[in-house]
Symmetry: C2
Subunit: 214 residues, 2 copies
DNA sequence: CTTCTTATGTTAACGCTGTCAACACTGTCA
DNA sequence: TGACAGTGTTGACAGCGTTAACATAAGAAG
């Protein structure tokens, strides 16, 4: 266990403090969201003095940003897994399944890890640049890139008019992102998981209909 | 000017401190969002000691909640205005215009007052109970209620299958809310206003298509 | 008109946070 | 061996939310 050497470390130098602080930050974010990512608490958990953090992060915001990126990468991984599990078939079917995978994975992550989800997105700068390398999943593709792949296929397979293609990513993203927020912080908070999953599919239905309607 | 008697008030008692603190809180939220609503700063602006606030608000969260409610009421007012300006016509046309009014007003408020918009919604408890009296517009109808009116008319006028009606509010809300966030904090931040307005209409098109598609 | 009570505002203090400055330890390269 | 850069520590400061005790004003009761 390289993380959390609570009792007391052997050497004066920690060895991998940056990584340890990031891990502690993830823990804090997991149950508590972005506001819970507190620099002093992270150093406390790692067993190091507060100011040691400043050797690895410019300030608290830098730590929070790193945690946010890591959370985004987890989200990407989740979507990636669903994306890659899609069986081959007709181009239309694959495209529809890909769109569904992105939306489903997105919402599922929000439900399973609300704290990390909030941390991933409630940091303003991170909605902005959500396709950087550090924020991608194992395949190296960011959620936005996966969404782009799916939508391009919508056009290529002829089920979406090309005129509707520009900025379609953001229409789809809006719906799923907003829905995730309603689920974890909003009026749908109390919705049982099974029902939440069902309504998620309806959200995706709506998006799909909006793209493919005549 | 009843607000902000900066120099020094005449009497020991302020007179309308609760209101003044709320106004100061709104100012802070307007440029800075929820995190900028700082209790001590609000009292400073009103010209009163920090602890005076505790005679009117249980804690900082109570002040923030009040500010959040006021912001939500402003949003409701904005939507209300568009809603009431809809000319009469066929039931379908009116229903479509109503849905469009809610979405358009929602996004317009987010663009015009991003700080207040964030404050209205990034306080978890306020997405939850967004149809309370204190959060409604001048007409007394909350945004959610206006949306419900529009969607009921979608079914009544026959352009939306009744089977699709349950929880349709949340599908529409998700899209518009998520889109507003992408616009003010996300990748669409730099989008010129005219273009933002145009894409907003496409978001609403998508929602409408999802509701009325065959 | 005085007195008691209640509402409201103030002062003092605590622990928490992020952060700067100065100091201490340690592994590395000359 | 010694300089040096990297890393962790101590001490301190201002700002925050919050509690407890005190001060002042306004109104009700006598």
């Amino acid at each position: 266990m390289t993380t959390a050497d609570s009792p007391a470390r052997a050497s004066y130098h920690h060895g991998d403090l940056r990584h340890a602080l990031l891990a502690a930050g993830m823990e804090l974010a997991r149950d508590g969201g972005p506001d819970a990512v507190v620099l002093r608490e992270a150093t406390r958990r790692v067993g190091v003095s507060p100011n040691a953090a400043y050797r690895h992060f410019a300030d608290r915001d830098a730590l929070l940003s790193a945690v946010s990126d890591a959370a985004l990468a987890m989200l990407a991984g989740r979507i990636d897994a669903l994306f890659d599990a899609i069986p081959s078939g007709s181009p239309e079917a694959v495209a529809r399944a890909q769109l569904r995978a992105v939306g489903t994975g997105y919402v599922a992550f929000a439900l399973d890890e609300p704290g990390l989800f909030r941390t991933a997105f409630f940091v303003p700068t991170n909605l902005e640049t959500s396709s950087a390398a550090s924020k991608s999943g194992p395949s190296g593709r960011s959620p936005l890139e996966l969404l782009t792949v799916a939508l391009d296929e919508f056009v290529a397979s002829g089920i979406m008019p090309a005129a509707r293609r520009p900025q379609a990513e953001f229409l789809a993203w809006s719906s799923v992102h907003g829905f995730a927020l309603l689920l974890i912080d909003g009026p749908l908070r109390a919705l049982p998981r099974a029902q939440a999953d069902a309504v998620t599919q309806r959200v995706i239905d709506m998006v799909e209909a909006g793209f493919t309607a005549p």
